[in-house]
Amino acid sequence: MTKFSFLRCALLDLTVVSALILGGCAASNTEQQVATYEEEFNDPLENVNRKIFDFNQFVDRNAIVPVAKAYRAALPDPVRDSLRDFLNNLREPLVFVNDTLQGQFKRAGETMGRFVINSTIGIGGVVDVAGRWGVPYHEEDLGLTLGAWGVPEGPYLVVPILGPSTPRDLGGQVAEGFGDPWNNIVTGNPWTLYWIPFVRGGVSGIDTRSRYIETLADIERTSLDYYATIRSLYRQRRTALIRHEQEENLPPKAGFTRREDRGTPSTVARSAVGPGVVSEH
């Protein structure tokens, strides 16, 4: 499960909803060039996004966080960690596929090794044996693979309940919902247990949320514009995941121009000609 997506798996089967959202993004592409700041943030649907964000916050405060707190209080640390390891292990087949699609064969090999070791010695994935041996879990999904292939992320989206996304990431998520082997097993003949992917998504979402209760509350409390902060965090994190860890994971130094422009009149005048044009990206 990737970061912000709450109940991510659950949505995967809600294709109607997804199609509506994707349709919505497609329509919005034409509006993208309207205003300068919309280009900067690439958030042409900001007004709608903010309303959905507020809705998500309402649900988060009144339902998700209370459940996450109860979950955290009810189960001891090791149990929750085992559950997280188990859920991560279920992700490994798709992580492997994405590693391979990206041509990251070393990572694909690590993922394969993790899956075999944790599924056997790690008792079906409840113990992250491979992690203890120095091969930690790494995240991959189809949105990241598309990004690695050069597909642009598209405009920022806030999806009801699931939170921050982009057409690329949401599309990847939907496709993975169909491609997930476990979902296919439990919903195919003879099982047809359609509720299981939803439960998996729900548990994963609650577990993830339970790990960030204080952190997110604090960021919300101290932010001047929580929506804008989350938007930036989501984008940066996805971009960093696509970059993997080539050397250091520091964003390019765009805009760090103060060495030459310590407020001397000439540089101020020069940068006033094209303020932010170069430095914004």
């Binding site: 990737t2 970061k3 912000f4 700041y37 900067e40 943030f41 960690d81 992250d128 491979a130 992690g131 203890r132 041996w133 930690p136 879990y137 790494h138 995240e139 993830t208 790990r211 960030y212 204080e214 952190t215 997110l216 604090d218 960021i219 409390r221 101290t222 932010s223 001047l224 514009d225 929506y227 804008a228 902060t229 938007r231 930036s232 965090l233 989501y234 940066q236 994190r237 971009t239 960093a240 995941l241 970059r243 860890e245 050397e247 250091e248 994971n249 520091l250 964003p251 130094k253 805009g255 760090f256 103060r258 060495r259 101020v268 940068s271 006033a272 303020p275 932010g276 430095s279 914004e280």
Partner: protein, 203 residues
């Protein structure tokens, strides 16, 4: 993951800021400077400290080791040019207050983890130092990268990125949004910063 990153981003900044600065070491070697910062921070980080103590300690370290005016200016981006001298001066002061307030409150969660510097390389303006926060239970370590600007042999931190999330970029994006929702006026940001840092806004 993103939430984890948010958490750890806060941590990285806090680690850097909390530790007592050692200017002599800093001047000689950026890697040693960050190493000292990180290790000392883990000692200093205690749940015992009060909120006010953390904020104050934090502010001192911001001043010691971070290029606060430079970061403040970067974060304001193109709006720096439209701000008056008075606005700039007030903004830089409020920025320091705001960072001290916002990041100091995220301190208490980060005790008992191991910090280590993994690499350092020269960069156009100074150096980039890579480090890791090693976590228990086989989880992937958190990557923390520091951008340092060197001037006359003295290094100051100009950005910190945790798992690829940059504090300066995040703050810049947020402030730009605030300004644009205030009709493009820097004064709108200044007013909000005043409210947030005055105590009642921070709640």
């Amino acid at each position: 993951m993103l939430r984890r990153s948010v958490l750890t981003a806060a941590f990285a900044i806090l680690v850097g800021v909390l530790a007592p600065a050692l200017p002599a070491a800093a001047a000689a070697d950026p890697a040693a400077m960050i190493s000292t910062l990180g290790s000392r921070a883990l000692e200093v980080l205690g749940k015992g400290a009060t909120q006010a103590q953390r904020t104050e300690r934090f502010r001192e370290l911001l001043r010691e080791d971070f290029d606060v005016p430079g970061i403040a200016r970067f974060v304001l981006g193109r709006y720096w040019n439209t701000a008056t001298e008075e606005q700039r001066a007030e903004y830089v002061k409020l920025f320091e207050d705001y960072i001290a307030m916002a990041y100091a409150t995220r301190l208490a969660e980060y005790t008992g983890e191991t910090f280590k510097v993994t690499g350092s390389r020269p960069d156009a303006d100074g150096a980039i130092v890579s480090s890791q926060i090693v976590r228990p239970g086989g989880a992937a370590p958190v990557k923390v990268d520091w951008r340092l600007t060197g001037r006359n042999g003295v290094y100051k931190i100009s950005d910190v990125a945790v798992d690829g999330i940059s504090m300066a970029v995040t703050q810049r994006s947020e402030f730009a949004s605030v300004i644009q929702h205030n009709g493009g006026q820097v004064q709108g940001l200044i007013t909000m910063l005043r409210q947030k840092t005055s105590g009642n806004g921070a709640r």
